[in-house]
């Protein structure tokens, strides 16, 4: 305990805690509660049965009613604890319920039938994970294929995006040329039109280019995101020009400067953009939904949402699928977030 305390109550440097450290930890734990608790709950809920999901009031952990298989009864019988009446305190198995009465038997004595008022019994529930939510998914459709499609789209689109955006951001932040402001304004300007609206025109263009029902139809337009250019440009503005000067004196070509100096020094922004791009592409739903109509091209998100019908949505499957699709990007995030903390501690000069 005291070791835990020492761990929690010390900053990295080892010095004692300043009040700002206390405030920080306070804030963080509040954050864990507010931000993370719902996510945990979501994960736990993905292990609930469809019926359990609908139950009021919702429980935190997945519970299922216990059943028992008795000789002479084909189906497993649900167990109840009796709360009142002459059998109070017993655990009985229910045969059937008729109106306000239930016919029950004592598992120890399956012959004798008891009649109990339904208000006098509560189900015996136990923590049980409905793993079938997951296992069914794999039987239900070609999970691996969709996983591959999603991965291919995500990786390719992210790489194209990082490359083209960072090149453009480099030009827009480190060169003075005519038309720079115009390009910058155009880039920001395209952000203004909501994606929902351009979906149809974009669809017509992609169809015209023959990319309908092709993974490239998702990849290429996905790479043309203005956010990345804007984000990277603003970050690159903070890289001291003097380092570029030094590279020029070292006879580096402009491409080399971009590749060996600007890119590594933008690592935090690149990491952020990579995380965002991966997330965008991986979670993208509306656009693949309109471009990809053939199941061999489906992404995980499309498959995930195929549980949404007109009249009914199968939440248990949808949640399980959500958690499954969440796992890979959660891991990617954990991996990439390290790079966010690789900024310029000092510029290596004066």
């Amino acid at each position: 305990m005291s070791r835990t305390w020492a761990f929690l109550s010390a900053t990295r440097g080892g010095a004692r805690l300043h009040w700002t450290d206390w405030a920080s930890y306070g804030y963080l734990f509040l954050g864990v509660f507010l931000m993370f608790f719902p996510v945990i709950w979501l994960v736990l809920s993905s292990f609930k049965t469809e019926a359990d999901l609908q139950r009021y009031p919702p429980t935190f952990l997945p519970y299922q009613q216990q059943t028992i298989t008795l000789d002479g009864y084909a189906d497993p019988l649900p167990l109840f604890e009796i709360t009142a009446g002459e059998h109070a305190g017993m655990i009985l198995a229910q045969l059937r319920r008729v109106g306000l009465q239930a016919q029950m038997v004592d598992p120890a004595n399956p012959e004798e039938r008891l009649t109990i008022a339904i208000a006098d019994r509560v189900p015996v529930e136990r923590f049980t994970l409905a793993t079938e939510n997951y296992t069914e998914l794999f039987g239900r459709f070609n999970f691996l294929l969709y996983f591959w499609n999603s991965t291919f789209i995500t990786v390719t689109a992210t790489l194209i995006m990082l490359l083209t955006n960072s090149m453009a951001a480099f030009a827009l932040s480190k060169y003075d040329f005519r038309g720079r402001t115009v390009v910058l304004l155009l880039v920001i300007g395209t952000l203004m039109i909501p994606q929902t609206v351009v979906l149809v025109p974009l669809f017509l263009i992609v169809t015209e280019l023959g990319m309908f029902n092709s993974l490239w139809g998702v990849i290429i337009p996905g790479a043309a995101t203005p956010t990345g250019v804007f984000l990277l440009r603003q970050y690159m503005l903070t890289i001291p020009d003097e380092i570029l000067d030094a590279a020029r004196m070292d006879k580096a070509s402009e491409w080399k400067i971009y590749w060996r100096i600007i890119l590594p020094l933008s690592a935090p922004a690149i990491a952020v953009l990579a995380i965002l791009a991966i997330m965008w592409r991986w979670n993208d739903f509306l656009w693949p939904l309109i471009v990809l109509t053939q199941s061999e091209n489906f992404t995980l998100q499309l498959a995930l949402n195929s549980f949404q019908g007109e009249l009914q949505t199968q939440w248990s499957s949808l949640l399980a699928m959500t958690v499954l699709t969440l796992l890979p990007i959660a891991m990617v995030f954990m991996f990439l977030q390290k790079y966010i903390a690789t900024g310029i501690a000092s510029t290596g000069g004066k």
Binding site: E242, A246, R248, M249, D250, S253, A345, G349, K350
Partner: protein
């Protein structure tokens, strides 16, 4: 060939002109030192030669070719930045090899050269560190190494030794001189250190407020400064200046403003009778002796062990420094009389500041 020619080179930041028309011609293989007060434009000039800074006016030629429009990377120079500008994300080794990689040097040769240079700069223990884990002097040496390793036709050094200790500085001075001898290339070197300037330079350019005051061999500048500014700037501590008026009759008599009278050198200077002039005497030529013509009130004394400095002022308040070998017995508050051998004095026109030396 890497001669460097500056013709009426100018630089303005907006309205502020910081380089005001400089003509300079540095021969191939020459070691040229730029000196001048802080903020006079040395770094700016260097950056203009390197191609990193646009030229507001005039022409720069390297090896006879005008390079005004040639980008920095193609001018074939290497530079040590005053602020180092190391690549923060690269290790020392990578900092050193980056330039070599850019000119497609084969791997083994890069390894060899980096090893050689880092050894020379005594940073071979640090090759795998990042700049942020280095001390100031170590960073500065990496900056030197980065330029040196490429062996270009022209070197530009901007105060490369300012953060090194005396011993290392002497070593590095020696290494740079050796490098210069070995490569035979042109070097331009900015420094504030008198010793560096005097010992390393083939030619010194003295700058002031964006203008060239004098350009010549070190001892020439020391012995025959063209004007008051150069006289005051070259040599440390600063030359002592005494203002006065040449005797109306006897051109070799100088009446100081303090009322004291001095003998002027008989020949070599072109002072006219009655002219207002400034007499310059270097601190180490000042001698304290009972017969010294000028009375000096001692304000402070610095004992360096092997030598000592006495600071004081004349009756009119002109500061006087006396530098003498060994440890002195003069104390604060003393009044001493000082003088100097006549042939160790310099004479300047008080109005224009120009030297009155003949020929």
């Amino acid at each position: 060939m890497a001669s460097i020619e500056l013709r009426q080179v100018r630089k303005a930041y907006g309205a502020a002109e910081v380089i005001k028309g400089i003509d300079l011609s540095i021969a191939h293989g020459e070691f040229c030192v730029f000196v001048g007060p802080s903020g006079c434009g040395k770094s700016t000039l260097l950056r203009m030669i390197s191609g990193l800074e646009d030229i507001s006016g005039g022409e720069i030629a390297i090896g006879g070719e005008v390079v005004n429009r040639i980008p920095a990377a193609d001018r074939g120079l290497a530079m040590v930045f005053q602020s180092y500008a190391l690549y923060p994300h690269m290790t020392v080794r990578q900092n050193l090899s980056f330039g070599l990689e850019n000119i497609n040097t084969p791997r083994p040769e890069i390894t060899r050269k980096v090893a050689e240079v880092s050894k020379m700069l005594q940073i071979d223990q640090l090759l795998d560190r990042r700049p942020k884990d280095l001390s100031g002097g170590q960073r500065q040496r990496v900056a030197i190494g980065r330029a040196v390793v490429r062996e270009p036709r022209v070197f530009l050094f901007d105060e490369p030794l300012s953060n090194l200790d005396a011993e290392l500085r002497v070593d590095m001075r020696g290494e740079i001189a050796a490098l210069h001898r070995r490569l035979g290339n042109t070097m331009i070197y900015v420094t504030h250190d008198q010793v560096e300037a005097m010992t390393m330079a083939d030619k010194i350019a003295v700058l002031r407020l964006g203008k060239l005051e004098q350009f010549g061999a070190p001892l020439d500048l020391y012995n025959r400064p063209a004007n008051l500014f150069v006289a005051g700037f070259i040599g440390s501590p600063k030359m002592n200046f005494l203002t006065g008026q040449v005797d109306a009759g006897d051109r070799s008599l100088l009446h100081l403003d303090t009322g004291e009278t001095l003998r002027l050198p008989a020949a070599g200077f072109a002072q006219r009778a009655g002219e207002k002039v400034t007499l310059g005497i270097r601190p180490n030529h000042m001698q304290a002796s009972a017969e010294g013509p000028v009375a000096v009130q001692v304000r402070s004394v610095e004992q360096l062990g092997g030598e000592s400095y006495v600071y004081g002022h004349t009756a009119t308040g002109a500061p006087i420094t006396v530098h003498s070998p060994g440890q002195t017995r003069i104390a604060i508050g003393d009044t001493v009389r000082v003088g100097a051998p006549e042939d160790e004095t310099h004479l300047f026109d008080s109005a224009s500041g120009l030297s009155l030396r003949e020929g």
